[in-house]
Assembly symmetry: D2
Homo-oligomer: 339 residues x 4
C-alpha cells in the first residue's frame, strides 16, 4: 500500500482524484490540503465521498514533512513549482495537474503563461505525462506534468498522423468544445448557469490560449518539424465532455482506411485510446472514464481530413490520466483503479 | 389585414411561426394543416398558444381553395413542391421553409437531396430568401425559398468578405454547432434526451450534409468563382442556438480592423445583422430573436481569419426569417412583428 | 408615448424589462441605472438589445429629476424603499420588483426580511400587483409591489379555491421547482453551472423562505381566515420555468370537474391565466410569456387535491407581470406588448 | 469467479450493469441478450464499453441452457416472469429489475400493472430486494425483485420513522423529481430533448403510478398498519438523479434532532445510506454511485416534517442496487464493485 497526498483538493480535479482513488486497491490518501478550507472536515465539504469522512483539509505547509510516496498538485498557474521543488527534494514523486511544468523551458513558459517561471532549473527533468507516447520516461520521472485537457485530445489524434508523414505543412485547424468542468469551480461570470445553459460560446480564439504552446511544442517534437495550430476553444453547455474536431490538409490523396489504419496501428495495444470505425464519437461515450475516442473521415474532392477526438475533461483530460501516470510511476498495473 | 396559411404546422417551425405571428399587427392566420393531426384542435395541441384556440388542424387538400395571400410550407424534403405549385397557380405567394427550392436546378437538387425534383420547371422563378442580399427580388417573388439554418450563418458571415476579394482560394472550414430544434420534433434516437444531454456529437462531416450544396451555390454566386467548403455540423445540448465558427485563409495580411470594417460596412443599415466589435458572440444572445451576430478575429503569425456567426435556429434560421421574407413580399415594414 | 425608467437594470429582471419593452408601442425608456456599471454603454453590456445601443447606464442619483411617468425598481431587498419614496414624492408612479413593499406592515416585513423597513409609512398605500385579484386598485396606485415568483404561482392557484370554501383548515403543502433565473445573476456557488447542471436541490424548506410570509398574508386576506403553508423551494436545472405542485385537503369529497370549474370560472375572462383541462402543465409552455397555466387533479380514495401552477420566472413571475401592472397604471390596454 | 447473464441488455439498466460489472473482481458476464439486436456485436452497440467488445447480443431463447450462477432481467412489465420461471427451474438465481415481482400477490399485481400475472405461484418465494431491510432473506432468495427507483427513495426515508411510531395516521405526500434515465431509452414524445430541456413536468399524479402500490405495500408491512401515500412523480431536465421530497405529519411535537437520530441510528452501519446533518441533499451528490442520501427538517409552528431522499436513478435506483443484491445472493462482500 502506497501513500499519496493531494495539494489543493477542493477543486474539480482534486475531488475527482478522491472519487476515483476510492477504487484503487494499492493506494491510500494520507493528506489533502486547501488554504481556503484549512480545518474543514471532508465529511462536511464532500459529504458524497464518505470514504474520506474522517479527514480534514490541512494547510500545504503543514504536510510537507509527511511521509508519502507521491503527491498530486492541483493548483492554479504559478503555484505548483514551489511545492514540486519541496517534495522532489524529499524524493517524493510529483504529478502536477496544472500548467507550471508543461513547457520545455522558462522562455516558452513565460511566452504562454505570462509570468517568469519560479524554478526554471526544475523544468529539465520534467516528463510530459502522456503515457501513450512517454510511457518509459514517466516510469522513471520525479516530476510528471499531466497534459492539458485540450492537448490530450489533440496529441492523441495527431501524433500518429504526423509521425506517418501524411500531414501537409499547413496550419492545423483545431475546433474544440469543452464542458464547464474545464473552467473550474471558481465563481466567474463565465461559469454562471445563466451564461452557459442554452448557450454556446468561443473564447481566446486563434493563438491566444496557452494550450496552443503546449500542443505545438509536443506536436513539433513528434513530427520533427515546426507545427502550427489555429485553435478555437468553445464552452458548451455540458459538464464533463471535451470534443475536438481537427482539420488537417493531407500530403497526398489518401483513403480513409489508410488514415484509420495509422491510428488503429498506433493504439492497437493501448488500453485507453479507442479508435472507432463506424460510429462518430459523442462526448457522452467517455463520461466517467479514462478513454479517449478517436474517429476520422476524409472529404470528397478535397485534401482535408477531419479527425474527432473525445474525452472526459476530468477523466483522460485531468484526474484519471493523472492516476494512469501514478500507476506507471509507482509500478502498479497501468489500468489499476481506472476501469 | 392579410391572410396567411401554414401547411404542416405541428413541427417546431410551424409552432414558432404561430407564436411570432401572434405579435404581427397586419396578418391573420386563416388555416393550419397537418395530415397526422387533421381534426385536432389547437387548444389541445398547442395549449400554450391560446390565440389560436378556436382553430383546428385541417388537411392540406381541404384548404387549397381558401382565399389567402401567402402560404408557409413547413414540410419534409420532397413534399413542398407539389403544394407550392398548387398555390402559385392560384397566385398565392409561397414561402418554403424546407429544402425543395433551395437549389438552382434539378440536377443540383438531385445531387444533394438524392431524389428527382418533382416540378423542376418551378425552380427558375424561385428567389433565395436571404433578405440582406436578395431584398428586391424577394419583394417580387412568387416563391421564396427560406435559407437553411447553417447556410444563413455562413452566408451572412462570408458574402461580404468574398465580395471584398480578401479570401484566398482554399477550402473554407466551417465548424457549426446546432441546438436540437434543428433536428426537428420527430422521434429519433438522435433527439432522445439521453443522447444529447451531457453529450456533444458530430454528424455528416465533410461534404455530406445537403447544406454544403446550398452554401457553395450561394457563396460561389456572390464570389463569382467556385467556392469549396468543408463543413462539420455538430449537435450541442441546447435547443435554439446555432453557432458557426468559420476558418478562411486570407489573400494577404490584413488587420482585424480591416476585416471588421468590411462586415460593418456591409451591414450598416441592416436591422437584423449585428457586427460585434469587442465581445465574442454567444449563442444565447440570439435566442428568441431574428438577429444574426457576427464577430471575427485574425490570428497572430498566420493568414487564417476566424469568423463567428450565431443565430437562433428557429429565429433567423427558420421561422423569423420567413416572417421577414413575408414582410417584404406583402409590402409590410421589414421589422414588423420581429422585434 | 409615456416615458419610463429602470433603476438597477443590469440583472435578469432589468434585462427582461428592456427586452419586452422593445415591443411596447406606447412606452419609451428614458433611463436605466446601475451603480456598478455607471457609464458603461448598453451597446457593450447588452449587445443583443441593439434597440438601446445609444444608452448608457447612469447612477440612480443622477436620474431622480428626469421627467418620467413610471419607474421600475429592480433592486436587492432593503434598497427599493428609498428610491420609491423619492419618485413618489415627484408624483412618479413606481413598480417595485423586489421584496421591499410586499408586506402589509413593518413588523411583518421585519419578520420575513430580517431588517427594519426604512420607510414604513409608505407601506400603507402600496398595492400588491397581482392584476387578476387587484386590478382596480393597481390602476390607481402610486406604488405597486410586483409579487414574488413563487407567490404568483401559488396565489393564482389557490385564491379561487379558498374563496369557494372548499379547502380544509390544514397546512397547505407547496412544493415548488424554480429555474435559475430566480436566483439572479450574481455569482454564488449556488448558481455555478457545475452545481446546477445534472443536479436538483432544495433550499430553505418549511417556513424559512420569505415568500412564505407573502403567500400567507395574501392567501389569508382572500380566504378571510388564517392560512398556513409549508413550502419547499427547489432549484431545477433550467433557466426560466417555475413549477409549483400544491397539495390541499378538501373540505368535503369533490369531483375534479367541480374544482376545475372553480378555476375556470375565476379566470374565464383573464388574458394571462389559462386553466388546462386535459394536459398536465409543463414549465416549457410558459417560456417567454406572461401566462400562468393551471391544472388540477383529485386523488382516488383521498381528500387531497393536487394543483399545478406554472409560469416563466422572468415572465409572469417578474418582468412581464410588471409590464402588465404598468399597462394598468398608465391606462394602456392590459395586454399591450405582452403577446 | 461466478458467471452471470443479462436478459434485455440494450436499455439503460442493462448498459449500467455492464459498465459497473467491469469493476467487479468476482464476476464475469457470460451472455447478454436482446431480441431486437440479436446478432449485433457489443463493439458496435456499446463502443464505449470495450471490455465486452467480443460479445454479441443473443436471443434469450438461445441462452437458457447456459451455465451461469445468476441472471439479471431488464425487461418491460409482463415479460420477466416467464424467464424467471425458466431460470429458477434450473436453479439459477434471478434478480428482476422490472415490475413483475414487486407485488405480494396476483390481485395486487393486477391492480397496479393492469394485467394478469403469468405465474402467480412464483410470487410467494420472491424477496423484495431492499438490502437495508431484507438483507438475510435476500441472501437465501432464488428470486429477488429489485425495488423501483421512486420506492427506493421513499422506503429508505420512511421505514425508520414509521417503525419508530412518530408518523401520524394521515396521507403521506411524496413529491418526486426524476431524471430522464427513469423513463428509459425507448423513443417517446416524453423523452425528446425538446420536451425535457428547459422544462419541468408532472405525470400520473395522486395514486396513478404503479409505484404507489409498491410503496404502500412495503411501508404498511414495516409500519404494521395501512399507510396511504399521495404521490406526484415529475420529470426534471437531468439524466441520472432522483430527488424525493416527503411530507409527513408527526404524531407529536418532535425536535429535528430526535427525528434525525432515528434515521442515523437506523443506518449507522449501512454502507450505502448516508444521513446528512447540515447540508440539504442535491441530486448530483449521488451521481454514479450506490448511495442514498437522506436529510430532514421539522417546520416551525407545524406538525409537518420534510424528509429529503436522493439517489442516482441508475445507481441505488436500479443497476447498482441490483449488484448489491447480487453480492448478497452470491456471498460476495456487499460493497464489492460498488465503490
Amino acid at each position: 500500500m502506497k501513500k499519496i497526498g493531494i495539494i489543493g483538493a477542493t477543486g474539480y480535479t482534486g475531488e475527482e482524484l478522491l472519487r476515483v482513488l476510492t477504487r484503487h486497491p494499492n493506494v491510500s490518501v494520507a493528506f489533502v490540503t486547501s488554504e481556503q478550507e484549512t480545518g474543514t472536515s471532508l465529511a462536511k465539504f464532500f459529504p458524497h465521498l464518505p470514504h474520506y469522512k474522517n479527514m480534514v483539509f490541512r494547510s500545504a505547509q503543514e504536510v510537507v514533512d509527511t511521509d508519502v510516496d507521491l503527491v498530486f498538485l492541483c493548483l492554479p498557474p504559478g503555484y505548483s513549482a514551489k511545492w514540486a521543488k519541496l517534495f522532489v527534494e524529499k524524493l517524493i514523486k510529483v504529478i502536477d495537474l496544472g500548467a507550471d511544468f508543461r513547457y520545455v523551458d522558462a522562455p516558452t513558459y513565460k511566452k504562454w503563461c505570462g509570468i517568469d517561471h519560479p524554478f526554471p532549473e526544475l523544468l529539465e527533468g520534467v516528463v510530459y505525462g502522456l503515457p501513450e507516447w512517454n510511457r518509459d520516461a514517466i516510469k522513471n520521472a520525479q516530476i510528471v506534468s499531466n497534459p492539458g485537457c485540450y492537448p490530450t485530445t489533440v496529441l492523441l489524434a495527431l501524433i500518429p498522423l504526423l509521425k506517418a508523414g501524411v500531414v501537409a505543412n499547413e496550419p492545423i485547424i483545431i475546433d474544440s468544445k469543452s464542458g464547464i468542468s474545464g473552467a473550474g469551480s471558481s465563481l466567474t461570470k463565465t461559469t454562471h448557469f445563466g451564461e452557459i445553459h442554452e448557450s454556446f460560446s468561443a473564447y481566446k480564439p486563434g493563438r491566444l490560449h496557452r494550450h496552443v504552446g503546449e500542443m505545438e511544442q509536443e506536436l513539433s517534437k513528434h513530427a520533427q518539424r515546426k507545427i502550427q495550430v489555429v485553435f478555437t476553444p468553445h464552452l458548451a453547455p455540458l459538464f464533463r465532455g471535451l470534443f475536438s474536431t481537427i482539420y488537417v490538409r493531407l500530403q497526398s490523396k489518401l483513403d480513409r482506411s489508410d488514415l484509420l489504419n495509422i491510428l488503429t496501428d498506433a493504439y492497437a495495444t493501448e488500453p485507453f485510446v479507442l479508435v472507432l470505425d463506424e460510429k462518430l464519437p459523442a462526448a457522452k461515450m467517455a463520461t466517467h472514464s479514462n478513454f479517449c475516442f478517436l474517429s476520422l473521415t476524409t472529404v470528397t474532392d478535397s485534401d482535408v481530413a477531419i479527425i474527432f477526438s473525445m474525452i472526459d475533461n476530468l477523466g483522460k483530460g485531468a484526474s484519471w490520466q493523472a492516476i494512469q501516470n501514478m500507476n506507471l510511476m509507482l509500478d502498479f498495473p497501468e489500468q489499476e483503479g481506472l476501469v
